[in-house]
């Protein structure tokens, strides 16, 4: 038996030599302890081996079944610009073929970029400490919910504004259902969180934490004046979901008085890639540091006094604490943390501001153009950055089909004639004019 595959190097001679050393007659001998009725004797219903040429052709033909659209939608995934440098640096196999940095002496590359990543997330959110990443914004929010309940000890109730993105809310609800959190969704008012309703529910004194988002599910930049004081007065914690790219210009979770900041890093230039890999970020106040889930990197010194980085506070984690850990998370999205780090390093604070200015100006230009058609109205009249929701009398489903025939991805259909559009710095004035023209052909 030889194993002619480019990924398995064993020659017939190799196998013979190895079996001899082991003292086995055949490979099957090594499986002799397995009941014969569970040994698979059938044939797999999958294709035969493909060469690289065939594989490329197959993927190309699959790719041709996708439409390449000019994107005017967001909903948690934004078509931002990705500088060329990033893919080149991420392609360095010393980064992407490395294991989790449990051996710090040979993992300083990974450990240092995670430290830089944590520093950048702290700068963007204003918070004291960040972990090394979570899976996505939705699971990061679910983890924040569990963290608030764990910190509150005896309280088990969490309030979540219904202006949080529905895709994030679904995941939070799922985790709440199984983890046994009494999650209460607080209906919004006029497109924003109903703070008065939240305040009245806080009065019972049984609330462990509150989850709000800005920009919210409609793209609206919410005003949380007074919220954190009321939450803290009720001995509860505040989690704020935000867009890390937008935090270069918008009031930060720390400035709003939040205890936990979370969200999705996709907006920091990551390819859309049909939903992932992206990255969830989580940062918190110093007081909550030891309650935070996930890996954390800290600075230290080596035996020669040299500055170095190491995984720290591991006593919170599953491989040490098992069922008493703060979370079950093990693998996170480390390589995507490198993505964020390189992106933020290239853009700097001025580049991020410029990205927001261009996206915001483009969004307002589209907003004005759509209102000018007379077929759209603004149901909320609240401030927005790059994403906004309008009401229309046009059949949204039919409209979006026509738009995709013309090469555009239209706004998200929120039902009841509400459509949510997003504009990034990649959209030109010409593209927006063309987009509006196609809409008006209705």
């Amino acid at each position: 038996m030889s194993c002619s595959s480019r990924y398995i190097p064993h020659t017939e001679d190799d196998i013979k030599v190895m079996l001899e050393r082991i003292g086995a007659k055949s490979i099957d001998d090594l499986y002799a302890d397995i009941p014969s009725e569970v040994i698979f004797k059938g044939e797999y219903d999958i294709p035969s081996a493909m060469s690289e040429i065939e594989l490329r052709n197959h993927l190309k033909s699959l790719g041709e079944k996708n439409s390449q659209l000019t994107v005017f939608a967001g909903g948690g995934a934004y078509d931002h610009y990705s500088p060329s440098v990033i893919s080149h640096l991420l392609a360095r196999s010393e980064f992407y073929t490395a294991y989790t940095p449990y051996q710090p002496e040979i993992s300083q590359g990974t450990l240092q970029y995670i430290f830089e990543y944590q520093s950048m997330i702290c700068e963007l959110t204003g918070m004291d400490a960040s972990n090394a990443s979570m899976y996505d914004g939705a699971t990061a929010t679910a983890e924040a919910m569990m963290m608030m309940v764990a910190a509150a000890k005896k309280k088990n109730r969490v309030l979540m504004s219904d202006t949080v993105s529905p895709r994030v809310a679904e995941v939070v609800k799922t985790y709440a259902k199984f983890h046994g959190v009494d999650l209460c969704v607080v209906e919004g008012k006029g497109g924003v969180s109903d703070l008065d309703s939240i305040y009245s529910q806080l009065e019972a004194g049984d609330v462990a934490g509150v989850i709000v988002a800005s920009p919210n599910r409609y793209g609206i930049v919410e005003d949380f004046s007074g919220l954190s004081d009321r939450v803290h007065a009720a001995k509860a914690l505040l989690t704020m979901y935000s867009d890390p790219s937008a935090l270069a210009v918008l009031r930060t979770p720390a400035e709003w008085g939040a205890d936990i900041a979370c969200g999705d890093g996709q907006s920091l230039g990551m390819p859309l890639l049909f939903g992932g890999p992206y990255l969830g970020f989580m940062a918190c106040s110093k007081a909550l540091l030891r309650k935070m889930p996930g890996r954390v990197v800290g600075a230290t010194k080596d035996a020669d006094g040299k500055r170095a980085f190491v995984l720290t506070l591991q006593a919170r984690e599953q491989h040490i604490r098992r069922e008493k850990a703060t979370s079950n998370i093990c693998s996170n999205q480390s390589l995507m943390a490198l993505y964020v780090t390189v992106y933020v390093a290239l853009m700097g604070k001025n580049g991020l501001k410029e990205v927001n200015r261009l996206s915001c100006d483009g969004a307002h230009y589209l907003y004005d153009s759509l209102l000018a058609t007379g077929r759209f109205s603004d149901p909320f009249g609240k401030p927005f950055l790059k994403e906004f929701t309008l009401k229309t009398d046009i059949d949204v489903k039919a409209l979006n089909r026509r738009l995709s025939d013309k090469g555009f991805m239209g706004g998200l259909d929120l039902g009841d004639g509400l459509v949510e559009f997003a504009v990034t710095e990649k959209r030109t004035r010409e593209e927006i004019d063309q987009f509006v023209k196609v809409i008006m052909e209705a």
């Binding site: 993927l59 720290t312 307002h364």
Partner: protein, 487 residues
């Protein structure tokens, strides 16, 4: 080049930049329409560096890392196999990378077909009815699988089942995932060879047991030979069997967990299906289930209609959602390319060659290292440190000394069944020559331990940094640049 130890923040010079964006031609000032107290009050302190600064900085950082492309990882339970290059190229195809996850499924048929083909291939290889690919990592798959388990019992109105049996030799994520899913852990003790003692298991089975989580082969690399009996007992007690796919590699092409009586399993695509570990992710943790559990799989659910069209379904019996979109799609593309590259014949060699490699190392080193369990292992095995305990050289010392010789360390001090555990898993992608080099070095370290033990105890000696002060790091955590500057 000389030692490089700058942080990106330390390269910053006010006014320098590493980007170029188009001019603003919109003639509106959008941000001005946002009330000023909703805007950021003070600027973030982010690096201001040139493009070349960034490129050199991260290239230099990469040179301080060890990866599979650098050298051999004998890392037990982690399955550090070769990450094929064509897979990286495929995951970057613009026909996929520009796809928005909320695009009309009609315009994303290629992506949905890939998702469907991959879940179907995994179902074939693991012997289950259907897979969801949405979970982001192994632990996330465990959590999703336990949610399926609980949904099944809840749907039957069987509310008492709030406990799950987990062996004491299990991966740490098992009990942690159980805790997150709202299940209480009941530990079952392992026999000396890590397998479950049926007599210990029997009294634990009751109408409060939702199921059992098992790793087979277990974390000592030994197959649970009584698995069919265990499955029978658990099913008779009304429980379900969960298979931790972290150790699926030795069975790939040989045994299907679904055929052993398991109802639910997760697969780590970043282990068994060759996708890179990325320094700790992104991974992917697909969850497969038997036919009677398919409706509980999380939303969104990719399905195929009778005309061969793919669509996205949000089932009402689903456990809910565990991801905003479809999971780590880019990782799925790599695993798909891997399966197609090996094909239905080639994939049958994966498990057997991984098992051959592990047994070869085990038999070659058992003269110097203490092998607590004799007999054929599967993809991995555990030594209980050096055979000669008189030298004072520990498993940690041996692990660090291996770094000096250009190898990654094995997994150490896990499983907890032995004091000096050293868990070794070579994978099938390593050649006989690489294994022999590793075996030589392991013998050499054993010899050093006898003759010059201090050299081994002081290791590593030749790495970029040496032993780190982890105690101070945990006592006075410095977790970002600002804190470091002020320290």
């Amino acid at each position: 080049m000389k030692h490089y130890d700058k942080l990106i923040f330390e390269l910053s010079r006010p006014g320098r930049k590493g980007y170029q964006l188009p001019a603003d031609s919109f003639g509106v000032d959008g941000i001005k329409s946002i009330p000023s107290d909703l805007l950021r009050q003070s600027d973030p302190e982010l690096p201001e560096v040139s493009e070349l600064d960034v490129v050199r900085h991260y290239t230099n950082l990469s040179s301080k890392n060890f990866g599979v492309d650098t050298g051999f990882y004998p890392l037990g339970s982690c399955t550090m196999k070769y990450n094929p290059k064509i897979n990286e190229e495929i995951a970057a195809l613009p026909e996929f990378s520009a796809l928005h996850p909320l695009q009309d499924p009609e315009t994303a048929q290629g992506a949905l077909e890939l998702y469907w083909n991959l879940q179907n291939a995994l179902a074939q290889l693991a012997g289950f009815a259907e897979f969801t690919l949405n979970p982001f990592a192994g632990a996330h798959g465990e959590l999703t699988g336990l949610m399926v388990m609980r949904s099944y019992h809840m749907a039957r109105g069987d509310k008492k089942r709030t406990k799950v049996i987990v062996p004491d030799s299990a991966h740490g994520t098992n009990p942690a995932s159980a805790m997150v899913s709202g299940l209480q852990v009941v530990e079952v003790k392992s026999r000396p060879n890590g397998s479950i003692d049926i007599e210990d298991l029997k009294p634990l089975l009751s109408d409060e047991i939702a199921g059992i989580m098992m790793t087979n082969p277990n974390t000592l690399g030994m197959f649970e030979t009584e698995i069919l009996e265990i499955a029978k007992l658990v099913h008779e007690a009304g429980g379900l069997l969960y298979y931790d796919g972290a150790n699926f590699n030795p069975l790939l092409g040989k045994v299907r967990p679904g055929d052993m009586g398991f109802d639910i399993m997760h697969i780590n695509l970043h282990k068994t299906f060759s996708t890179p570990h990325g320094g700790g992710g992104p991974g992917s943790g697909p969850v497969g289930v038997a036919a009677h559990l398919v409706d509980f799989l999380p939303n969104p659910h990719v399905k195929k209609d009778e005309n061969g069209k793919f669509y996205v379904d949000f089932g009402k019996d689903a456990l809910g959602s565990v991801s905003a979109f479809f999971g780590n799609f880019g990782v799925m593309m790599k695993a798909y390319a891997y399966i197609l590259s090996l094909g239905k014949e080639g994939i049958r060699n994966v498990g057997p060659m991984a098992t051959l490699n592990a047994n070869y190392i085990k038999e070659s080193l058992k003269d110097d290292y203490l092998l607590p369990i004799a007999g054929a292992c599967k993809h991995e095995f555990v030594f209980d440190g050096l055979k000669d305990k008189s030298t004072g050289v520990t498993t940690l010392n041996v692990a660090k000394r291996l770094l000096d010789y250009g190898f990654h360390a094995p997994t150490i001090y896990f499983p907890l069944l032995f004091h000096e555990s050293m868990m070794i898993e070579p994978t099938e992608t390593e050649s006989l020559e690489t294994l022999d080099e590793f075996i030589d070095v392991m013998h050499k370290v054993a010899k050093e331990a006898r003759e010059t033990p201090d050299v081994v105890k002081d290791a590593p000696l030749s790495t970029i940094v040496r032993k780190l002060d982890e105690t101070t790091a945990a006592k006075n955590p410095i977790l970002n640049y600002k804190a470091l500057k002020n320290a």
